[in-house]
């Protein structure tokens, strides 16, 4: 007993530790069960079965049902409040389930460095645009750093970077290191802002990790509303306040464009040939004469124009034409409304705005944004407050432009373009035009969290529905239990007493693996469960090696004690070498795999170490104790 004292202490300590780390998982599961029980979903359903609804107008029905439901769930709320700390604590410390098991979204975002480099440049000209096009094309093909690609392009053409970036006197390496710093900060800031947005969105246990130099992974357990999440993560949230161009100028510009498209040269002479007088003629003739005004149409009784959804592409291309661009004043920018303005002939149409290119004010000054219904109309509304500097500036802008319209532009879409009624001194402003309160909430979150320094692209998106996860857990547990059963029975049958010791060690092994997973706050994935099942299968290998050796030694006529000693020591080198190599491959897999595969590699590695401990140390102690108690034979089958 004495020589094994240390080992026994070690084993007991390991069991105690495993149980200590696993307790929160157990606790969390029982809290969940209790809460579901108390939440009264079942009782509520039963009650509805047996109690028909009292007669009431349809409009009141929903409210009645809601109040009924909440009266049944009151118990669970009370229970939650009473145990809130301990529930949250247990939840934090339990073994987490991977997205593949509990459902949720896994998104990989990539910061668009090319676009950012483009935005950062000054004095842009045609050469620069060409370079940027090359860089964009190349970076789509390879995963080289866009900044390096940019440097190469400049090098090939023999142009100094300082022509577009930094100070004119800076040499290339200085500009490069400046750009590198900027892009690196941009990725970190983008990640911070996305984290901020996700936190405010209210996902439980989100995870955001950097991957490589320009990407980060966002994991949102239990979330399945794809479009909302996409908006939350991707929206650059660049908020701008832009003055609308005066209506008369805008109409003149449109007519000038129309004339160019129609092939007329005497641009201004026919400008008087107004749009409305043409309406009597046949459509085809009108289309030929006024190409632009067949794409954009005046909204009746206003001075605003609108475009059908499908025509937006066509219009964008038209406005890009070299000859058209010449008649558009250089401070003009055309933007669409964020939401369709209405529907006609079964097609949505969007309002077209002509605004001044330079923003009067940007979203950087916004300090807070709150979504609430408009007190007068009940329409969803986001109210913003500004910093004191911003408020002063806003007061000046509104004061100087009374009677004019200011467009509130978010990510290049116009949310509203109200007329300035009076000077706004307190820095308050509103965004309207959201479809519902959910959308207003989302917008306010995005505004509060701030603008992304560069656009981000979704390069990978995985979405697992909750029912698939439940199936996966069931399948994993079923195969695990059956597999374990087969092995336990086989070992017992084949190695008798030795087998029962191995089985005992195997069960402790499972406890250890789970305990270590919990201690690492690791995530259990489906491949992880598969890894655990495989570990169980291979864990007995060490015992098989040892027992076969002991049998051999016993046939040479050694005493039981000597045979056990020899069996363990001779099997040791094979066990050691074999498991070291398995550990290697596990580590490499962990390094190169992503998500669920990493979970697999982790369980595999933990399993190897745990099974070595249980197969070598635990079974040995059991046999030693048996021998010390006077056993002269142990049945190894």
């Amino acid at each position: 007993m004495r020589k094994n004292r240390f080992k026994i202490i070690l084993i007991v300590a390991a069991i105690a530790l495993a149980l200590y780390y696993l307790y929160p998982t157990y606790q969390s599961a029982s809290y969940q069960r209790k809460l579901t029980e108390l939440s009264g979903q079942l009782k509520y359903a039963n009650y509805l079965e047996s109690h028909p609804l009292p007669p009431m107008p349809d409009s009141l029905k929903q409210a009645y049902l809601d109040s009924l439901k909440s009266s049944f769930s009151a118990d669970s709320l009370q229970y939650y409040d009473a145990n809130a700390n301990s529930i949250v604590d247990a939840k934090l410390k339990r073994i987490k389930l991977g997205l593949d098991l509990q459902g949720g979204m896994h998104i990989v975002l990539e910061v668009d460095i090319v676009k950012m480099l483009d935005d950062m440049a000054k004095n842009k000209d045609q050469t620069f645009d060409q370079i940027m096009q090359q860089v964009a094309a190349q970076s789509k093909q390879s995963d080289a750093d866009p900044l390096d690609l940019l440097g190469q392009q400049f090098g090939q053409r023999g142009i100094r970077l300082s022509r577009y970036y930094g100070d004119i006197r800076d040499d290339n390496s200085k500009v490069m290191s400046y750009l590198r710093d900027e892009t690196k900060t941009a990725v970190d800031r983008a990640m911070e802002i996305v984290r901020n947005r996700v936190d405010q969105y209210g996902v439980s246990e989100p995870s955001i990790q950097k991957q490589g130099s320009t990407r980060f992974i966002v994991e949102l357990p239990g979330v399945s509303n794809e479009s909302e999440v996409r908006q939350l993560l991707q929206g650059t949230a660049l908020l701008e306040f832009k003055l609308l161009e005066p209506t008369d100028v805008v109409v003149k510009v449109y007519q000038a464009i129309d004339n160019i498209l129609a092939g007329k040269t005497d641009t201004l002479a026919t400008a008087a040939d107004s749009v409305s007088s043409d309406s009597s003629r046949s459509q085809e003739e009108f289309a030929k004469k006024h190409p632009l005004f067949t794409i954009i149409q005046q909204i009746p009784n206003t001075t605003d124009f609108a475009v059908f959804e499908n025509d937006r592409d066509k219009l964008n291309r038209t406005l890009e034409r070299e000859d058209v661009r010449r008649v558009i004043p250089s401070d003009f920018q055309f933007l669409y409304s964020a939401k369709p303005f209405g529907t006609a002939n079964g097609q949505k149409y969007y309002e077209l705005f002509a605004v001044k290119k330079d923003a009067e004010l940007t979203g950087g000054v916004v300090t807070n944004a709150q979504a609430r219904p408009d007190p007068n109309t009940g329409q969803p509304n986001v109210e913003m407050t500004m910093s004191s500097d911003g408020a002063r500036e806003w007061a000046r802008i509104t004061g100087a432009n009374i009677g004019k319209r200011i467009a509130i532009v978010l990510d290049n879409a116009v949310y509203s373009a109200p007329v300035v009624q009076s000077k706004i001194p307190n820095g308050s402003s509103q965004i309207t035009g959201m479809a519902n309160m959910d959308e207003a909430n989302l917008l306010s979150i995005v505004l509060r969290a701030g603008a992304l320094p560069a656009p981000v692209d979704i390069v990978e998106e995985r979405n697992v529905g909750p029912s698939l996860g439940e199936d996966s857990i069931r399948n994993g547990v079923t195969s695990g239990v059956i597999g374990l059963g087969i092995i336990v029975l086989f070992m017992l049958f084949y190695y008798r007493t030795g087998g029962s010791a191995a089985d005992f060690a195997l069960l402790l092994n499972i406890l250890f693996i789970l305990g270590v997973l919990a201690a690492f706050h690791a995530t259990l994935t489906l491949p992880g469960i598969a890894g655990m099942i495989l570990t169980i299968a291979v864990a007995v290998d060490a015992n098989v090696l040892i027992y076969e050796r002991i049998r051999e030694e016993l046939t040479t006529g050694k005493t039981l004690r000597a045979a056990i000693d020899q069996g363990y020591s001779k099997a040791y080198s094979a066990i050691f070498d074999a498991n070291i190599i398995s550990l290697f491959t596990g580590a490499i897999l962990y390094q190169f795999g992503t998500g669920p595969v990493q979970g697999f590699a982790l369980t595999l590695m933990i399993g190897i170490v745990a099974s070595l401990f249980s197969a070598i140390i635990i079974t040995r102690v059991i046999f030693d104790i048996m021998v010390e108690r006077g056993a002269t034979t142990i049945n190894f089958g």
Binding site: E226, R230, E460, N463, S467, A537, D577
Partner: protein, 328 residues
């Protein structure tokens, strides 16, 4: 009880027959892959993949024609698990992440009476697919290097080379089996994805495990019988460890079979490859890893390993006990 009491099988003597068998199997697999190609999963191909559950079960033809209307006529559609679950996969498009929404929207509007539930959705950009492919190849490559290095230190270089060739053999045979079964048994849904790569690395680890156990016994026996004929020592070592080999691969096989049957769609490819891998990993320890060490001695180092008339190809067990007793 024991399944294999004191066997004396001449494994190494029959190695040339098994070389032929291995070469045939590998060729068969490679030819199938060359003709039919491997079925790459979404991880490596990129694109959008939806797993949808329909109620009632849908007609694949009508789904295809419905998707054709929005330009996804070339979509890959197959049942996934239950008959009312379909996997729809389309190539990467410029539309990026909204592709999935468009497909679901189109199906919902064209089949208003059918309940459609999204089980899983994966969208992988083309660049990511490329990177995952590269990482997978690198992972297998690095693990082979690590093994080569470690076994060279613990044994000898020729043993390490034998072991690594055995791993190549296992990976090729398993890959071939995935190709052949993926073609002949389509409902297995075998495709090369990240989980499959994990399976390949795991089988590399497993096969290595098995090889090392035999090598370890060879190392030990070579120390005991200095100057004995290598073939005789190897045969003895393989026979000594045979019982363990069969039991361990047997338990692993049984458990993987359970996983293949009960584990569901997601782990099926993993269980299948590992199942093949366990069999070939066990076999290759003897007929590739060990056999190559023998043939290296015969053909490169020109060691005369021919047996005399009176020698049995396998070292007698009794003799070993004598030697062991003498040494002790």
């Amino acid at each position: 009880m024991r399944f294999f009491p004191r066997t004396s099988v001449d494994f190494i003597g029959k190695r040339y027959i098994w070389y032929t068998v291995s070469a045939t199997l590998i060729l068969l697999g490679l030819i199938t892959i060359a003709i039919r190609g491997l079925n790459y999963g979404i991880d490596f191909k990129g694109g959008t993949e939806l797993t949808l559950q329909f109620d009632p079960a849908p007609n694949i033809g009508s789904i295809r024609s419905s998707l054709d209307k929005i330009g996804f006529g070339d979509a890959e559609i197959k049942t996934f698990g239950a008959t009312n679950q379909l996997l729809i996969r389309v190539k990467a498009t410029d539309q990026g992440v909204v592709t999935g929404d468009r497909i679901i929207g189109q199906l919902r509007s064209s089949m208003p009476a059918t309940q459609i539930q999204l089980l899983e959705e994966n969208k992988i950009g083309p660049k990511i697919g490329q990177e995952l492919r590269r990482d997978a190849v690198l992972a297998v490559f690095y693990s082979l290097i690590a093994i080569l290095f470690y076994v060279s230190i613990r044994f000898q270089f020729i043993y390490a080379l034998g072991a690594v060739l055995a791993l190549f053999h296992d990976v090729l045979i398993t890959l071939g089996a995935v190709g052949i079964f993926g073609w002949l048994v389509p409902w297995l849904n075998l495709e090369i994805n990240q989980t499959m790569v994990a399976a390949f690395l795991t089988l590399v680890g497993y096969s290595m495990n098995d090889t090392v156990v035999i090598f370890d016994r060879i190392r030990e026996n070579l120390k005991i019988y200095k100057g004995e004929n290598l073939i005789r020592v190897m045969n003895r070592s393989i026979n000594d460890t045979l019982s363990r080999t069969i039991i361990t691969s047997g338990t692993a096989f049984a458990v993987l079979l359970v996983l293949l049957i009960f584990g569901g769609e997601v782990t099926r490819g993993f269980a299948f490859s590992m199942l093949i891998g366990v069999v070939t990993g066990t076999y290759s320890s003897i007929y590739v890893a060990s056999a190559i060490v023998v043939d290296y001695n015969v053909y490169v180092k020109k060691v005369d390993l021919r047996l005399t008339q009176t020698q049995s190809p396998v070292l007698e067990i009794e003799k070993r006990y004598e030697v062991a007793a003498k040494r002790a």
